[in-house]
Symmetry: C2
């Protein structure tokens, strides 16, 4: 079962708050994360910030360059595709596992989340919409009962937000309107096949709405391919 609820370490809270900011596109991919500035902003010592950033770099959301500091990751097109590949693999399994012993309180939690998404859309809070959209998938992973899948998704979803920030086609409607609702409905009725099918399509829709064909993206040169 779950492990005992430990008092969450301060560094974790800071890391979480940075993750939120990244998911909400309030920090752009590639941004430098200066320890001293963050230390004054969060009103803690640099040590604590360093620890938070170290955690985030281990989770892949942030990258550490020796003697240069921490930067928000900016996944390449290849990496973006790899993220979606893995999500297509994991998320159907999450649904299968979840359906094996879903509890009423899980359903309630899903509905609460859908409501939050609805409100965010109603108030056109685009930042919140993006984050909540990601967190929906993290919520499913959390409920599926496999802590390693959960952990993986807790890394892949923020990364997906970064990918959207990088490769979103500007004038696209913010996330396919209400696919989450239909997925929850399928889960609620216990229709595994339907839920999985909807999920797969949902993921495909997200990916297809992006510009991952390598053209027209204002990215830096990928030096890896040249010097590698």
């Amino acid at each position: 079962m779950e492990s005992v609820k430990l008092p969450k370490i301060q560094a974790e809270k800071i890391a979480e708050s940075i993750t939120n900011a990244i998911m909400e596109h309030r920090i752009a991919p590639g941004s430098k994360l200066s320890e001293s500035r963050m230390a004054t902003a969060f009103e803690v010592s640099r040590t604590k910030i360093n620890q938070s950033l170290l955690m985030l770099s281990e989770s892949g959301l942030v990258q550490q360059l020796p003697n240069r500091g921490f930067f928000v990751s900016s996944p390449s097109i290849d990496e973006a595709k790899q993220v979606f590949f893995l999500r297509q693999l994991l998320e159907p399994e999450i649904i299968k596992e979840l359906l094996k012993n879903i509890k009423l309180k899980d359903i309630k939690r899903l509905h609460r989340h859908l409501n939050a998404e609805k409100e965010a859309r109603a108030s056109s809070n685009r930042r919140l919409i993006i984050r909540l959209s990601g967190e929906f998938h993290m919520l499913l992973a959390e409920m599926c009962g496999n802590r390693y899948i959960n952990k993986m998704m807790a890394e892949l979803c923020p990364l997906t937000c970064l990918i959207i920030a990088l490769y979103d086609v500007p004038n696209t409607p913010a996330c396919p309107e209400d696919e989450h609702t239909t997925i929850v409905a399928a889960i609620e009725s216990g229709d595994e096949e339907q839920a999985i099918s909807l999920m797969k399509h949902h993921l495909t829709h997200i990916e297809m709405a992006l510009n991952l064909d390598g053209s027209n993206n204002n990215n830096e040169v990928d030096w890896d391919k040249i010097i590698g």
Copy 2:
């Protein structure tokens, strides 16, 4: 493609060396990892050790308890099953992806690894055998081209070594003799179906050789289940 080869940070090297020790069963699950002792052992400051342990705790191999320090994880039976579940899911995909564009140098690398395993078996170096057995799977993951799958497997394999340390039935032969060789042969001949089938059976063999039925294991009481 691969990212630029960064000068590996010292903390990473220390973390790697701890990981190796854990994989070789030279540090038992649950062991306390004292910062000060490790600092003197590695001849670095406590800060550096703290960073290494923080990385390891983020990867799940080590657990941090507030005000008590770091401990080597000891996965529960449930968690052990979750690890194998995820590996059964990922590793067939790794083979599929790997076969899509495997290079000659990859095959060579696999053979070098098989030789190393052979030597370790010849010299009855049980510790090395266990670590190399895990690293075989990490090698496949590394070559499959998906860095997120690679990262996941780089966490799951050391965890599996911990699980073996915890739930191994004492007088069992050390790892099903040469299943790695047959898997490589299947990969080499491009027989995807065969390679996947062998891999699945291999994983099943490993799991079945363990005592994961909840009986006869000299574990502590799982208080989580009681107070949770």
